[in-house]
């Protein structure tokens, strides 16, 4: 597939991912240089969506590894299917097989449970591997990823080294719950996706919530942007903005005045202190800038 920056830009547009040149360049370079792309930014800014759009663009499978505390190699890479191995052992019990013959069966691919990383590496064609919220995984797991991201190969002691036929396009996302190591950063290209500006968010709203009046879409984008500047515990994400505007459509709200803002804040803000803070400022937020 001939990958150009225009192809990437068109692919993002086709997938209705409204973005800017920064994102386009980073995605293009990740494909062009075959490097993992580390995407950081606030929660709900569209980091995970990049991987989904990339898979759609390349018309390939998206393999997702959701990171969490305590994630280890067994859950990320591979595991032996103990139950199946035991069944095999019991089935072979009376045949008087030697250990060598038995172990040849037991430690073959048939008994291997491939987890996302191994699945991505052993895939016959290029896939997109999303390692989501890497900051939630432990530092030990991050260190384990280093070899994988450098050489795109893993060692399974019983089977040998598995190398990627076709390097997967790797996207890592992080919300910066903890600092990632320099070693990991060095191996990746970096992209920071911030909340969109007012104009960009208005376009997103118009695209995703077609029933909304264009003027109201602009108002909603302005209001959400102003809220994000209030230093809230959890600023509203793009998804929450879209939920909110859909709620406005369902409620038939045509004007963003103080009562309508207060009535629908629960869709946007998920912390009580954030809500109290915005409610207090609702009249000022509702007032249109001159």
């Amino acid at each position: 597939m001939d990958v150009t920056q225009e192809f990437v830009a068109a692919g993002l547009r086709r997938a209705q991912y409204i973005t800017n040149e920064r994102v386009e360049t980073a995605v293009f370079l990740a494909l062009a240089l075959d490097k993992p792309l580390l995407i950081e930014g606030p929660a709900g800014a569209g980091k995970t969506e990049v991987a989904k759009v990339l898979a759609e663009m390349l018309r390939t499978e998206l393999i997702r590894l959701q990171c969490y505390e305590g994630l280890d190699e067994a859950r990320a890479l591979y595991e032996w299917n103990y139950q199946k191995q035991l069944l095999r052992l019991q089935a072979d019990e009376h045949q008087g097989l030697h250990w060598e013959e038995l172990s040849e069966h037991l430690f073959s691919r048939e008994y291997l449970l491939e987890r996302p990383l191994l699945r991505a590496i052993s895939a016959p064609r290029k896939v997109v591997l999303l390692i989501d919220e890497i900051d939630k995984a432990d530092e030990e797991f991050e260190a384990f990823l280093l070899e994988l991201l450098s050489d795109f190969q893993v060692s399974v002691p019983e089977l040998g080294t598995v190398r990627a036929h076709e390097r997967p396009a790797v996207v890592l996302t992080s919300n910066r719950a903890r600092e990632l190591s320099d070693a990991l950063r060095r191996r990746c290209l970096h992209l920071f996706i911030d909340f969109p500006g007012i104009e960009q968010e208005r376009r997103i709203i118009e695209l995703k919530v077609p029933g909304l009046d264009a003027r109201l879409a602009g108002e909603a984008a302005r209001l959400v942007n102003a809220m994000r500047k209030l230093d809230l515990r959890k600023p509203p994400s793009i998804a929450e903005t879209l939920d909110w505007t859909r709620a406005l459509v369902r409620l038939g709200i045509k004007e963003l005045d103080t009562p309508s803002i207060r009535a629908t804040l629960g869709v946007l803000l998920k912390h009580e202190d954030d809500r109290a803070r915005v409610e207090a400022k609702a009249p000022a937020l509702a007032a249109r800038p001159r």
Binding site: M1, D2, V3, T4, Q5, E6, N20, E21, R22, T25, A26, F28, L29, L31, A32, L33, D34, K35, L38, E40, G41, P42, A45, E69, G70, Y82, Q83, L86, D138, E140, R176, A177, R178, E179, D182, R185, R186, C188, L189, H190, L191, F192, D194, F195, P196, G197, I198, E199, Q200, N225, R228, K229, P235
Partner: protein
């Protein structure tokens, strides 16, 4: 071509000098990235940023240096133009992009009929070094005007007609650099408000500022940005406390897990370390020299109190006072004379007297101070005894290392008694130091 490579290396050197950490591999990636996207100014900027900048907080530094180094009229950019079509040489130097990837710049050249004049200039020999600046300025203008890159690379019309009336190359370059920087800023503004990026940049700046250079202004700025650090510390402490890959086996969970494997005990489960196993005793010097570092440390640890079984916080100058935070302000009981002469030896004696209530085998003692004792008895023997009674004694020292053991500093004596002496000259180092607690 070689000059372009040199310009890139100079650019990387400038970034390193400004404090951005860039490895050799990253600078090679940057070369490849430019080879892949071509020399269109905005694309080149984004490509370099993607390859070189791994923390958004460094982006402002990057943009500033990029505008200076690769301004439309700068020698680097002129050379870049001359070597257009020759970026394969860059690939040759450092390896190129995947075969299946076509550079947009290359395709631009193939597809765009307007590219011909620019291509013609690529064959132009470099001007002699002693060329007339006015002539060069004119030549540059004519060269730039032939550029087809959406008016981005080498755009000759700077706002206010600066480039048009500049009487020397330097002035023209400076004007172009300003215009480029202004355009970069307006591009960024058009795309995003940079709300989170701005926060990250502020946090990064204040995180790296040494406590020794703090005034009230920096201190307040640090407190404003403390929320992220508090959150990270809390997550780190709670995570470490929960993880248990070794230690005491949890038989009930191991047996339960073995049922899946036909009773084979191949999947060992361990008892989680619980928060109640760690007590924290904090002793923070709040005399003038280390006041800021101590207050910030107390505030960070206060946010993670419930991750420990018990936290006792004390501040001291020449004696001990219990510390807490009331409405975001440090409160102490009894009030200390902040202008008294520091005497940590006396403070240690007080702690020793109250050891039965304060120190157990589960206690981690964290001391923040510069170890300056006004030449009074250091009482390092008491610290050694306290270390014997407790789990660990960590000493965080905000003073620059060059000043340790100078003047009235007794840090050498204390260093022998503690488990670890951890430099923490700024917020970032403080965060790393506190991570050792868990």
């Amino acid at each position: 071509m070689i000059a372009l490579r040199d310009a890139m290396l100079d650019f990387v050197a400038d970034l390193r000098a400004a404090g951005v950490r860039i490895s050799v591999a990253e600078s090679i990636d940057a070369m490849k990235a430019v080879a892949a996207v071509g020399l269109v100014r905005r694309r080149m900027r984004e490509a370099l940023a993607t390859a070189l900048i791994k923390e958004e907080a460094d982006r402002a530094i990057f943009d500033e240096i990029f505008a200076r180094r690769f301004a439309g009229g700068s020698p680097a950019m002129r050379e870049a133009h001359r070597s257009r079509g020759g970026y394969a040489g860059v690939e040759g130097t450092s390896g190129g992009p995947s075969d299946s990837v076509t550079s947009p710049a290359a395709r631009d050249r193939r597809d765009d009929p307007e590219e011909a004049p620019a291509s013609a200039t690529t064959a132009r020999e470099p001007s002699p070094p002693n060329r007339d600046p006015v002539q060069e300025s004119k030549a540059q203008k004519s060269f730039d005007s032939a550029e087809p890159d959406d008016g981005e690379v080498g755009e000759s019309e700077a706002p206010g007609g600066a480039a048009g009336v500049a009487s020397s190359t330097d002035e023209a370059d400076a004007a172009m650099a300003d215009a480029d920087a202004a355009r970069d800023r307006s591009d960024a503004d058009a795309e995003s408000d940079g709300i989170e990026a701005g926060r990250a940049a502020r946090l990064r700046t204040i995180e790296r500022l040494p406590f020794a250079r703090y005034s009230e202004v920096e201190f307040e700025a640090a407190r404003d940005t403390l929320a992220a650090l508090k959150r990270r510390f809390r997550i780190r402490v709670s995570r470490r406390l929960r993880i248990a890959g070794t230690g005491r086996i949890d038989f009930r969970r191991t047996i339960r897990a073995s049922l899946q494997h036909g009773g084979a005990l191949g999947d060992l489960r361990f008892r989680a370390r619980r928060p109640r196993h760690i007590d924290l005793l904090i002793l923070a010097d709040i005399s003038g020299s280390v006041n800021y570092a101590s207050t910030l440390m107390l505030e960070i640890t206060a946010g993670a109190r419930d991750c420990f079984r018990r936290v006792r916080s004390f501040v001291y100058v020449d004696r001990l006072a219990e510390a807490g935070f009331e409405r975001g302000h440090l409160a102490m009981t009894p009030m200390l004379d902040l202008y008294a002469r520091s005497d940590f030896g006396r403070v240690l004696a007080e702690v020793w007297e109250r050891r039965a209530a304060l120190v157990t085998r589960a206690t981690v003692i964290v001391i923040m101070g510069d170890g300056r004792n006004n030449r009074r008895p250091a009482r390092a023997d008491l610290l050694r005894d306290l270390a014997r009674l407790s789990r660990a004694v960590l000493w965080l020292i905000p003073e620059p290392q060059t000043r340790w053991n100078t003047g009235d500093s007794a840090i050498r004596q204390y260093a022998r008694a503690v488990t670890a002496l951890i430099p923490c000259e700024n917020l970032r180092e403080l965060e790393r130091g506190l991570a050792r607690v868990s």
